[in-house]
């Protein structure tokens, strides 16, 4: 794993906007898509990342089964609201399919990849990984390989999803460029799989007393929501969603994995696993340098790096009300002063590719930069 400086394509902004519809390459005036650099891997390193990702996904699925069979006690430890328990168990027992997830890994090319966290419910940075970095490599070195078959696997996953002719609505919060771009891309892949699709802002979803409805009055028979389950269940229409009247993607059972308390339960299930970091729900449960993460958090909010009770570094945010998980500190490898975290994608529960985000800070946030990769 190496970092290289690269000359950006002279017309890259115009090209990605016009030909790919990539609208969020620059966020709040700062570069987000960054092709002034790239990472290279060896085939053996890619194989290791792929194997670790598949292993982590299988452990995660085992954990869901374990939590559901334990019931109340496990749900309480995960701080999952009681109102959602039946829907979680029901969706798992019915074998509801899942589309995607992103494992964030600390990896330096030498030591085994370690799981920082699993974005199981609402992962983004998908379009950049699936399309933009693929297009970048085809422009520069089409003969080189990349760990990225995300696009093909998404289309395949939609074909196998069992939605039939159901009218599938893709939903995100209104006026959010990055989330909107991510659901537009997912909708694009579903259309290519022959599904009947539509787009609706999460705020515009209607309820007629029996069914969810879009703005044209059509029934929302299936819903892809880029909006956290833990928020949906607490909101006014949450109970209708939990009733199962609409098929929801990701399925309700992803709530077991989308909260960071699951990191502690994974460690209990597979202590000392080479791809896991020690994690505990108890302050003081982990010795030495560690990260304190809110059980429900996004984009790196409210994370503290601790050493013996001393705060070394922290980020602000609105999260933390449900408590925290304490995770042994993982050195995020630094390349020329850039901390690189690997986002490893699973599509239909199979490893499908990676995207790399760099940050000058050791805590990756939504202001990090996406940097492409290849391997040989």
């Amino acid at each position: 794993m190496q970092r290289h400086s690269v000359t950006p394509r002279p017309d890259w902004r115009e090209h990605v906007e016009r030909d790919l519809g990539f609208a969020f390459h620059t966020i709040d005036g700062a570069l987000y898509w960054d092709e002034t650099a790239c990472y290279s891997f060896t085939a053996a390193q890619v194989d290791e990342l792929e194997a670790a990702t598949n292993e982590l996904e299988q452990m995660s699925l085992a954990l869901v089964g374990d939590v559901i069979s334990k019931g109340e006690e496990a749900f309480e430890r995960l701080r999952i609201p009681r109102v959602a328990w039946d829907a979680i168990a029901g969706s798992w027992q019915a074998g509801e399919k899942n589309l995607y997830g992103r494992f964030d890994l600390a990896y330096d090319g030498v030591s085994p990849p370690r799981l920082l966290e699993y974005n199981a419910d609402t992962p983004t940075a998908l379009f950049e990984a699936a399309v933009v970095q693929w297009d970048w490599l085809q422009s520069l070195w089409p003969e080189r390989d990349q760990f990225n078959s995300i696009h093909e696997r998404l289309i395949e996953a939609w074909r196998n999803f069992g939605l039939g002719g159901a009218h599938l609505h893709f939903s995100a919060v209104r006026n959010h460029l990055e989330d909107g771009g991510t659901v537009d891309y997912l909708r694009d892949t579903a259309m290519q799989a022959g599904l009947l699709t539509d787009r609706i802002a999460i705020e515009d979803i209607g309820w007629d007393g029996a069914r969810f409805r879009d703005l044209d009055g059509n029934a929302i028979e299936a819903l892809f929501k880029l909006y956290p389950w833990e928020w949906l269940v607490e909101e006014p229409f949450g109970e209708h969603l939990l009733s199962g009247v609409t098929k929801v993607i990701e399925p309700a059972w992803k709530m077991v994995l989308s909260n960071k308390a699951s990191l502690a339960l994974l460690w209990e299930m597979a202590p000392n696993h080479p791809n896991l970091l020690a994690a505990s729900l108890d302050a003081g449960g982990i010795a030495g340098k560690q990260a304190r993460k809110p059980i429900y958090s996004r984009e790196g909010g409210n994370v503290q790096l601790l050493d013996g009770g001393k705060v070394l570094q922290e980020t602000g945010g609105i999260y933390g009300a449900e408590g925290f998980v304490y995770q042994a500190y993982a050195q995020i490898p630094s390349f020329d002063g850039n901390h690189a975290v690997i986002g490893s994608w699973v599509i239909a529960s199979e490893a499908a590719g990676i995207g790399i985000r760099e940050d000058v800070s050791a805590i990756t946030s939504d202001t990090s930069r996406f940097v492409p990769h290849y391997f040989e």
Partner: protein, 175 residues
Amino acid sequence: MKKSRTVKLALLGGASLALAACDDNSGPPNDARYFADAKECAAIYDDASCRESARASEQTHLAQAPKFGRKEECEQEFGAGNCETRQSAGGGSYFMPLLMGYMMGNMMGGNRFNEPVYRDRQGNAVMNSGGRAYNVGSFGATAGRTAASFRPAAPTQIARGGFGAGAAKFGSIGS
């Protein structure tokens, strides 16, 4: 290979953008011809094959053609008047491009090739295969679903065998 062979976008970016990787060779076979329907086909091939191809293309069309909740979105891709309404199982309606006919080929080989053909907003005849868009020709200004209005695209000639002579001559490459 761990990268996607091709990444085509249906909705985002340029219309019918096809970014085909270089090892992509799943286009129509060389003998593929366009027919608007089984009757046109029967002037050249046997009736049974033609009816079977037309039926298979219709099924592919229903299963795989892009479907839109709004007519405007469909017409943005396929042009005004080129979309039709269908009823969904749930009782609502949706839109999909009109089936303009089909490509049929590989008549000498065992695997007969059938793919539905659509007209895009520029009048191109496009085939959708496994998420890839192929421009297989164009439709004349006079609208109508007949072979007479169809102009096949110039075939892409791909020369091969420019590398490998040394390996053929010296045998083993590895050391």
